[in-house]
Symmetry: none
Subunit: 195 residues, 4 copies
Amino acid sequence: MKKKAEERREQILRAAFQAVSDKGYETVTLQDIADYAGVSKGVTNYYFKNKEDVFLSLLEWVTDRIYQHEHQAVSQKTTAIEKLEAYIHSVFIDPEKNKKFYKVYLDFMAQASRNPHYRKINLKFYENCWKIGRDIVALGQKEGTFSSDIQADTASKMIRSIIDGCLIQWLMRDEDHLHEFYKKTCYEVILKYLK
Amino acid sequence: MKKKAEERREQILRAAFQAVSDKGYETVTLQDIADYAGVSKGVTNYYFKNKEDVFLSLLEWVTDRIYQHEHQAVSQKTTAIEKLEAYIHSVFIDPEKNKKFYKVYLDFMAQASRNPHYRKINLKFYENCWKIGRDIVALGQKEGTFSSDIQADTASKMIRSIIDGCLIQWLMRDEDHLHEFYKKTCYEVILKYLK
Amino acid sequence: MKKKAEERREQILRAAFQAVSDKGYETVTLQDIADYAGVSKGVTNYYFKNKEDVFLSLLEWVTDRIYQHEHQAVSQKTTAIEKLEAYIHSVFIDPEKNKKFYKVYLDFMAQASRNPHYRKINLKFYENCWKIGRDIVALGQKEGTFSSDIQADTASKMIRSIIDGCLIQWLMRDEDHLHEFYKKTCYEVILKYLK
Amino acid sequence: MKKKAEERREQILRAAFQAVSDKGYETVTLQDIADYAGVSKGVTNYYFKNKEDVFLSLLEWVTDRIYQHEHQAVSQKTTAIEKLEAYIHSVFIDPEKNKKFYKVYLDFMAQASRNPHYRKINLKFYENCWKIGRDIVALGQKEGTFSSDIQADTASKMIRSIIDGCLIQWLMRDEDHLHEFYKKTCYEVILKYLK
DNA sequence: TATGAATGAGGCTTCATTCAT
DNA sequence: GATGAATGAAGCCTCATTCAT
C-alpha cells in the first residue's frame, strides 16, 4: 500500500504541475488540482498535509525530474563539447515543455524569494545543475578544450545563470519561434566564455 | 490639483512597491498597501480602478524608474567599456535595492507568463534595456573594442539575459555577500562574450 | 435664495427620477444622481439630509406631479363619462412616460411595503387619486349615468386598483404595443363596473 | 444524494423567502439568508451560483408554489362561479400570507422592470394565472353564466390585473382588516365584468 | 455654495480545511 | 481510502457620508 500511496501522490503532483502551469501558483485551487487529477477534492488533503505541502512536494518533484533528465543526457556523452551540447539540448528541450516548466518555475522562484522552504529545494536543484556544469568544465579543461583561466566552480554558476536568463527572457517574449534563437545563442555565449 | 493627484498615485505606488517586496504579489492586500502608504483603505480604489490596475501601474512605474537610472548612468560615460561598466554598476546597485526590485520583478514575471498586460509592460522594459545594450555594443564595435563578429542586436538580448540570470540566481541564494561575486562575474562573462 | 435652493432641489429630483428609472432604487448611487443632474457629488448632500431624504422627496414630488396632471385633465371635463375618459387618458399617457413612472413607482412600493415613511407619502397619493375617482362616480350617479348600487368610496378604491393592476401587468410584459390594449380594456372594465 | 441536495436548496429558498419578506430584496444579505436557514454563510454559495441565482430560483419557486395552490383550488370545483370563488379565495388566502408574498413579489417586480431574467420567470407565472382565468371564463360562457361578449383571453388578463391591483393597494394601506374588503370587492368587480 | 478627496463600514465571493459518512 | 458537504476566514470592491477648501 506504500506503493499505491506513492503512485497516488505522483498522480496528484503531475496534475498539480499542469494545473499550476495553466493557472498560476496563487490562482490554482485544490479543487483545480483535484479536477486535473480526476479525483475528488478531499484526496489532496488526504495525501498532503496542506496546500503548501503539495507545492513544496511539486517543486521537489519537478526539479528533480528536470535534473535527472539533464544528468542522463550529459552522461551519455564523452567529450566536454558533446556534453555541453547535450546539456543545452536537454535544457532547451522544446517550446512546449520549456514553457510549461518555466511558468511553474517562475512562480516558485517568486515564492522562494520570501519562503526559505522553497529556497532550500531550489538550492538543491541549483547544486545539481552546478555539478553538471562543473563536471563539464573540469573535463573540458582536462581535455584542453576550455581555458584553464576560468574556475570550474564559478563557471558552473554562470552557465546556469545564462541558461535561466535566456529561457526566462524567451518565455517573457512569448514567441515560440525564438526558442531556436535563444538555444543557439545561449550555447554560443557559454562556449565563448569557456574557451 | 492634477499635480496633487499625481503625487498621491506615486505615494501609493511607492508604498505598493515596498509592500509587494515584503509580502509578495499575491499575498499583499489593498489594506497592506494603504497601511504602508499611511492612508485609508478606500484611497487605493479612489486612485486606481482596482487591484490589478495598481499592479500594472506599479510594474510600469518601477521598470521605468530602473531604466531611467540605467540610462542616465550609461549616458554619462563615453567609451564602450566605461559605458558597459557603468551599466553593470547601475544594475547591480546594491544588495538591498536589488533584492527589493528582483523580488517584485520575479512576482511580475510570474504573472506576465500568463497575463499579456504584464507581458506588454515588461516588453517595453526589455526594449529599453536592449537599446542600452545595443548602443554600447555598436559603439564598442565602432571603437574596435568589441568583436565585429557578433550582432549588436543579438548581443543586447544576451546581455540582459545574463544580467537577469545572475541577479535571479543571486537572489535565490539569499547570501548578500555573493552580490559582489555575481556583479564581477556577470561583467566578465559579458565582456568576454563581446570581445 | 430660497427660490434658488428650491430650483436646485427640483433639478436634483428631476435627475434622480431619471436615474432611478434607469438604474433602479437600490442600484442608483448618489454619484449617478449627481451625474444626471450635472452637478458635483457633494451637492446632493447639501440639499438633502441623506440618500433616503432624496428618495422620500422624490416620491412626494413625482406622485404629486402625476396627481396634478390627472386632476387638471379631469377638471376640464364636465360629464362623468368625459371625466372618466380624461382620467384614463391622462393616466395611460404614453408608453414611454408610463414606463418611466411605473418603474420608479414599483421601486417605491417595494420600499413602502416595509418603510412607513414611503407608505405615508403613497397614501397621500392614493387619497388624491381616490378623490378623483370618487368625484367622478358621485357625479355619474347624480347624472344617472352610473349605477347607484355601488358606493362611490368603494368604487374609487377599485378604479385605482384596476389602473395600477393594468399598468403594472403591462410594464411586466415589456411590449409597448400592448399599451393601447390595456388602456382600452382598463376603461371598459371600469365602465362596466360602474354602470 | 440528489434528494438531499434538493431538500437543502428548498430549505435555503424557504429561508430566503422569509428573509426577503422581512428585510427586502436589496437589504437582505446572504448572511441573513444563512441565518434564517440556520446554516453557515458559505452554504448559500455552495448550492447557488451567486446571490442573483438564489433570487431567481426563489422567484421561480415561490410563483410556482402559488400557482400550484391556485390551480389545485380551482380544479376541485365544477361550475364557473364556484371556480372563480375558489380562485379568489385561494389568492386572498389570508393577510399574513398575502403580505409575505406580495412584499416579496413587489420586490421582484421592481427588479423585473429592468432585468429580463426576472421578467421571464414572472411571465411564466402570468401565463399560468391567465390560463386559470381563461378556463374559468370559457367554462362560464359555455355554461351561459358569463357574457359571450367578452373574450376569454382578454378577460384573463384583466382578472389578474384586478387581483394584483387590489392586493398591492391593500398591502400599501397596511391595514389587515381591509383584507376582507378587497377580497369581496375584487370578486364583485370581476363578476360584474364577466356577466 | 459647491467641490471632490478621503474614510471606513459592509456585502459578495472564493477557497483551504475539516469531518461525517 | 475516498468523498463532498459544510464552515468561516479573508479579500476586493462599492458607496454613503464627512469635511477641508
